[in-house]
Structure formats: structure tokens, C-alpha cells
Symmetry: C2
């Protein structure tokens, strides 16, 4: 499958690298490719990282979205709408957007707040801004390494959630979660308004991270 | 121990009844005792329920708080500050307030929103309003039956959190969670600002309830 991953941080890189390693063609989207390749403030730098993965190329948000049959939004939540506008509504129309982003705002320091929450969510804002796309919120409740390797934590015996208005899109995303990444416990919470709870879990996640000293964890529903 | 439980809904009744059954003297606080005893819109009614438990008496918020060496806030979150003001700052001074309440606002229908979140929390508002009390947020992440009987769910192998500024108060509350209710996995997240995450988890909890068809569940941290 031809896949677009928007965002070049640790989530974007981890998701793009994993999908590329499975034999899919991945285009990782960014605002300015030249600037991205020149960046030196990461370790490894993006230019170094991209030499270590297969079937991944960097291009603009627009070119990546045009290429992808499915689009992963792995941008910072506070920049997601701008990135998707740059990708272009026409290039997203009819496509599944796997919305991994969290609207975490670190501008006031720690703990971060959410730039949107409670009466709406980032996923709902994206769905409203791009009504012809099919947004599915998922994966935002774990860190990058757990997203693509759930078995690395507790043998995979923990839960991933999904929310979205389009049932076919959710079935597609569920297959990706299971077949590409190895998730065995996927709960479809319902329509896109369920993204509120998934995003509002992040302030607890951040503190659990602090208490555990690692982001390599997830929650399991116990009944 | 002499215990005050503010709030006469299912959480207040369950907590009060359980603590009374352990041999402690419990005073359950309400705004208007006469009105409470005359209510017929619950099943069982409060007047019926109180005949089924031991060592529990109903009185005003103020009288209950005066009686209690420790105070459980089991009121509706949107009414908690008013209830605690009625209890009286002088009657709460120096005491541990176990804040179980969630600021869920159902006034706009389902799903509920939070009446306070993100940059603060109900627990922080209570601590700020009653600086001489020692607020510990806990138990708000599970339903009433799980609060007092965690072993009823998955053998008790799931997690309870605490947040508060006073370490001695947290040690007292941890002992109560373990010795009175049977919690074996209690994580002290840190200061009272951690209550934000604990309260902002509720929108996810509400949807997990919907997906599971039962409130008898909790989350376990898997690493």
C-alpha cells in the first residue's frame, strides 16, 4: 500500500520506518524538505535517520498526501490542522486519516495542557475541517515504540482504542493495527466524539510516565 | 475512627455503608436531612437504605464534618465546593479530605463534559478554597462498587492513584485504601496538580463504561 505519514518527529519516524519495513511505500510529509534535511538539533538527525530505513522518502505534506492511499497524522497536535491544510483537502478526500496526534501544549511548561478538549477534540476538529476525509483516532494513548510493537509491553495484553464516524475506515484501521503492528486488543469506542476521552487521557498518561519513569507502558481494561 | 462522608448518592452510600460495616462511626452529610429522609425518587430511598447499614447516621454537612476525623467528599463534583462551604472551613481545618468527586456536567446531555479541567482541577479548587484542609484525590477513577471492593474486579490486579500536597495525608489515605477497601496497587502520582489527569480520565471512563456495558472495571498499568 502507498502510505503517507505526516510529521517527522519520533512518532512519525517510528510509524513510517515500521510501515516501510513491512514492504509498503511510505512518504513522510513535512513543511519544508530542505530545512528538514538540514536540521541538526535531533539525534539522530532526520537526514541520518532516513538512511537507516527502507521504502521511506521525505517530501512536502502535499506531495505525501497525494501519494498516500491512507494518511497518518503524526504531527504535533497543535500544528495538525495547519499541516493538513498544507496537505490539501482535495488530496485527503475519501482517504482514511489515522489521527495519532495529541493536542499537547507545552508552551506554559510542565505539566502540558491540552490546546483543545472537553467539548470537542482535535480529531473532531480535523473531521470538521476535512469532511470528505474519514478520520479515525487511535494510537495516541501510547508512546511511539508501543504503537508499533505492543507485544514489547506485557506481551501485548493491553488495550488500544479507536473512534471515528466511518465504520469502513475503522475496519481498515483495525486491520492495520492488528496485521502491521500486532495489536490484539482493539476496542471500537464509537463515533468521533469518543476522541475526547482518548485525548483527555493524556494528562494522566503524562503523569503515569513520570511515576513509572518510562513511556513503555499502556493500560489494560480489567473486568 | 469517626468518619464523615459528604454526599448521599450511590458513592456516598457505598463508602459510608462499607466504613460503617468495619466498625467505624460514620456520619453521612447532606444539605437538608428532613428533605433527604422524605425523598422518594431513589430505589431504595435513602430512608430505606439507612436502615440496612450499621453505624451510619445522617446529619447536616456541618455536623457531619464536625464529627469526622477524616472527611470523604462524595458529593457531585459540580456541587462539591458548595457542600464543603456548608461543612465549614473551621470544621475541615487540619483534616484529611478524601476527594472522590468528579466534576461531571450532564446539563448539556451525553456525553458529559467536565465543569473544570485542563489548567486546574476540582481537587485543586478544593485545596485552594480550604487551605487548612489536606486534600487527597483518589477513588474517582472507578465506580462505587469497585472503590470499596477492588478484588471484585480481576482479583484486584488493577491500579488506584492518589494525588495531594500533604505526604502524611497520603499515607493515611493509602492505609485506608489498603486496609479498609482491599486495594493492593496504589500509586502516589505526586502533588495535587496530578488530580487534573485523574479527573480528565473520566470522559474516557464514561465511554469505556458504554463499550463494556458495565461500570465494574478498572485499568491496570501494564509495563
Amino acid at each position: 500500500m502507498n502510505v503517507a505519514v505526516l510529521g517527522t518527529g519520533s512518532v512519525g519516524r517510528t510509524v513510517a520506518g515500521t510501515i516501510g519495513s513491512l514492504g509498503h511505500e511510505v512518504r513522510i510529509g513535512t513543511r519544508d524538505v530542505e530545512a528538514l534535511m538540514a536540521r541538526t538539533d535531533d539525534a539522530p538527525t532526520f537526514a541520518e535517520w532516513i538512511t537507516t530505513v527502507t521504502s521511506v522518502q521525505a517530501m512536502t505534506f502535499k506531495d505525501a498526501a497525494t501519494f498516500g492511499e491512507i494518511v497518518f497524522n503524526a504531527t504535533s497536535g497543535t500544528a495538525s490542522l495547519e499541516a493538513l491544510r498544507a496537505a490539501g483537502a482535495a488530496n485527503l478526500a475519501g482517504k482514511v486519516i489515522v489521527d495519532i496526534a495529541n493536542p499537547l501544549d507545552f508552551s506554559k511548561g510542565f505539566p502540558p495542557t491540552l490546546s483543545v478538549c472537553n467539548e470537542t477534540s482535535l480529531a473532531e476538529q480535523i473531521q470538521a475541517a476535512f469532511p470528505d476525509a474519514r478520520v479515525v483516532k487511535t494510537l495516541n494513548t501510547v508512546n511511539a515504540s508501543v504503537m508499533v510493537d505492543p507485544v514489547s509491553v506485557g506481551g501485548g495484553e493491553h488495550d488500544m482504542f479507536m473512534a471515528g464516524d466511518d465504520d469502513d475506515a475503522k475496519r481498515t484501521v483495525e486491520s492495520i493495527l492488528r496485521d502491521w503492528f500486532g495489536w490484539t486488543r482493539v476496542t471500537d469506542l464509537g463515533d468521533i466524539t469518543n476522541a475526547r476521552g482518548m485525548e483527555m487521557y493524556l494528562p494522566l498518561w503524562v503523569r503515569l510516565y513520570g511515576a513509572a519513569g518510562t513511556g513503555a507502558f499502556n493500560i489494560a481494561i480489567v473486568r
